[in-house]
Symmetry: none
Subunit: 208 residues, 4 copies
Amino acid sequence: MQSSTPAGRPGRPRSATADAAILAATREALVELGWSRLTLGDVATRAGVAKTTLYRRWAGKNELVVDAVAELFDELRLPDCGSLADDIEGVVLQFAAILARPEAKSGLMAVIAESTRDDALRERIRASIVQRQMRLVLEGRARAQQRGELPPEPDPQESARIVDLIFDVVAGAVVHRTLVSGKPADEEWVHSFTQVLLHGLAEAPGDG
Amino acid sequence: MQSSTPAGRPGRPRSATADAAILAATREALVELGWSRLTLGDVATRAGVAKTTLYRRWAGKNELVVDAVAELFDELRLPDCGSLADDIEGVVLQFAAILARPEAKSGLMAVIAESTRDDALRERIRASIVQRQMRLVLEGRARAQQRGELPPEPDPQESARIVDLIFDVVAGAVVHRTLVSGKPADEEWVHSFTQVLLHGLAEAPGDG
Amino acid sequence: MQSSTPAGRPGRPRSATADAAILAATREALVELGWSRLTLGDVATRAGVAKTTLYRRWAGKNELVVDAVAELFDELRLPDCGSLADDIEGVVLQFAAILARPEAKSGLMAVIAESTRDDALRERIRASIVQRQMRLVLEGRARAQQRGELPPEPDPQESARIVDLIFDVVAGAVVHRTLVSGKPADEEWVHSFTQVLLHGLAEAPGDG
Amino acid sequence: MQSSTPAGRPGRPRSATADAAILAATREALVELGWSRLTLGDVATRAGVAKTTLYRRWAGKNELVVDAVAELFDELRLPDCGSLADDIEGVVLQFAAILARPEAKSGLMAVIAESTRDDALRERIRASIVQRQMRLVLEGRARAQQRGELPPEPDPQESARIVDLIFDVVAGAVVHRTLVSGKPADEEWVHSFTQVLLHGLAEAPGDG
DNA sequence: CTCTAAACGAGACGGTACGTCAAGTCTTGAA
DNA sequence: TTCAAGACTTGACGTACCGTCTCGTTTAGAG
C-alpha cells in the first residue's frame, strides 16, 4: 500500500502521511513566521515528526520550501473567456492571487534568492515551478493563434524564444508589482498590463 | 569650525571612512558568500571595524544589504540614442548588467523576500532603490513625448499609473529573466523585449 | 549530579565522560587564568566539548566552579595520630595544602563572594563543600570524647552549635591566613593555631 | 590616596568632590548589584561623572572597590569594657555588623578572590584594610597585658606571630560564619567564640 | 585679563565574552 | 529499517562592558 516502499523491503516502512504533513506544516510556518524565521525543528514539531525524519527526505530548508510552495501553483488554470485579452487577464489574476498569499510571497522569493548561488536549487525551482506553469503560456498562445489573434510562428526555435519572453514579462511584472512595489495586482492593473502586453506602449497607453 | 561634527554635538564624532568601508566589505562578502552565508561579524572584520560599530549604524543584515546594493544602481544613466527604442534598450542593458553582478543578484532578491514580512524594510527598499531609479522612466518618457514617440498624457494621476506600470514591466521582466529563468538579458533579448513593450505582442512578435 | 538515563528515557543519553572532562578543564583553567579571566567558551574548548553542552548541564560559571572545586576537598582524611592535637594538626595541614593550590584559591573565594547575592548558590556551596567536610569535625570530636580529651556533650542542640563554631574557627582561620594574610599555613603556624584552639590564648600563648 | 594638586601644578585641578562621589556611588552599586554585576560605566553615571574621570584615578574595578570598602572599616573602635573578654566581644560584634552590610560582603570577598592572582592588589588590600585594623589587636592585647589578663611577651618576633595568629583567627571565624555558613555572628555566637578563643576547646566548650 | 595646560562630559572606537538559537549529525530504545 | 526523542558539534547571533580614543568645553593659576 505504501508508495515509497516498493516491495518487501526490510525494516519499518516510511510513514505515508508524513510527507503531506510536513509540507503542510512548512506552509503553515511560512505564513506565521516567514522564510527567515522558519526553522526545521519547528516544522518537525508542527508535523508531529522527528527532525531526523525530515532530513531523511529533504536535503535542507531550501528544498523543503520549494516543494511546499510548488504545490500552490498547480491550481492555476487557463480560463477560456473567448478572447486572448480576457484569457490573459483571467490567468494573471489567478497568478496574482496566489502570489498575494503569505506562504507564497515569503517562500518563493527567498528560494529564488538562494538559487542565485546554488545551481541545483535553481534547476529544482525551474522544474517544479517555472517549467510546470509554462504550459499556460503555450496553451494560451496556441489558442490565440487558432483564433487568429496572434500570427502563427513556423520557426520552433523562434517560437520558444517568444514563449520564454512572454513568461518573463508576465511573471516578472506581476511579481514586481506585488512584492517590490507592494501594491495589489488588481483587476484595473491587470487590465492595463494586458493592454500594454498586447498592443504596446505607443498604441495603448490609457486604456483599450 | 568643526571638521566632522555637524553641530556642536558632544563626544567623539563617528568615523567618516567607516561607512564606505563597511558597505564595500558587504558587497565583497555578497560576491564571495551570497546573502545567506554572509555574516555581520565577517563584514566587520573585512571592513577593519568592530561588530558593535556596525550595529551602531545599521539595525541588522537586511538594512545593511539594502544600503550596500542601493549604491550599485546609482550608476544607471539614461542614454540619448535618438529614438525611444534605442534609449530603452540602452538603459535596460545597463540595468541587466548590474543585475548580473553577483553582489546584486544575491542581495537584492533576498532583501525583497525579507521585505514581505517587514514593512519598514520594504519602504527602505522602495526609497533607496526603486523610487530612486524611477527618474529614468520619467526622464525617458518625457523625452519620448517631446519627440512625439509617445502621446502626451494630460491627466497627472493617469500618468503616474502608467509610469508605475512601465517600471513594473521593465524591472520585473529583467529580474525574472536574470534570476528566475537564469538566462542572460543580452542584446538580442533586450531588443525583443523592447519591441514587445513598445508595440505589443500582436504587432511585433518576430522583430521590427 | 546528572543521572545517566535512569530508565527507558527516550533520546540519546548524556555523555558520561563529558562531565569529568569539563570539571577537569575547569580546574585547569582556574590554575592558568584564575576565576575572573576564566570563560565558559575556553573551558568548553579545553574539554573538547561544545559550549551548549556545558550550558545544558550547569546554569553558569558559578555553579560549574563550585562543582569543580568541591571535588578537591573530597580527598581530605582525618588521620589517627593518637592525640586530638595531632589529629587536628594533621587534618588542618591537609586542608591548608588544598587551599594553597591555585585552582582552590582562585575559585573558592570567588564563588563565596558571588554567593553573598545568590542564596541558591550559597546553598549549593554549603551542600557540596561545607557540609560535606563537616564529617571531619564530627569524627574527630567523637574520637576525642572517647579518648577523654574532650568532655562529652549530652545536649544534641548544644553539640551542633559547638561543631558549627569549631568549623567556622578552623576553616576561617586557615582561609584568612592563606588568602588574606597571604602567608603559608605551615607546620609552625598550624601548631600554634591548634594550641590556641585547644587551650585558649590565656593559657597557651607561646607554645605547649 | 590621590593628592589634589600638590603644588603649583598647571592646568585644571582634579575635582575634589568627584572622589567621594565615586566611592559613594561604588558602594551604592555594590548594594544594589553586587560585585559581578557592578560596571564602571554605571558607577560613573551614578556619580555624575564621565567614565574617563574614573579611569584617570583608578586602574580598574578592583582598585576602586578596595578603596570603597576600606572606608567602611575605619569606623571600628576598640571599646573599653573592663575585661579582655568583653572588649573582644565588643569589637567582634562591630566587625560582624560591618561584614553583614551588603556593600562589604559583596565587595570584600570578591577583591580578596581577585587578589589571589594579583600581588599588587593583595598588597593594596593588606595596606588599606588588613594592616589598618591590626591596631585593634595590638591595642587590645597591650591593654590585657597591662591588666594581667594575658602574659607579657618579651620577644618582639614571637609577639608579632601571636598578633598575626589572633587576627587570622578572629577575622577568619567571623568571615566564615557570616559569608560561608550564612548565619549571623550574633551576641550568642560571639560570646561562645570569645570563650573558645580565650580558654580553648577543652576548658570552655559550653559556656564560661 | 589673557594665556596655557590639565581635567572635564560625552560618546564613538576595537575588542572579548556573553548566553541563546538553529543547523545538521549521532545515538539510544521501541515499533 | 524507520521512527520519536533528545544530546551532540558547530557557528552566528545581538548585547553588554571593557578600556582607549577623540572631541569640544571648563577651570584654575601663571604671566
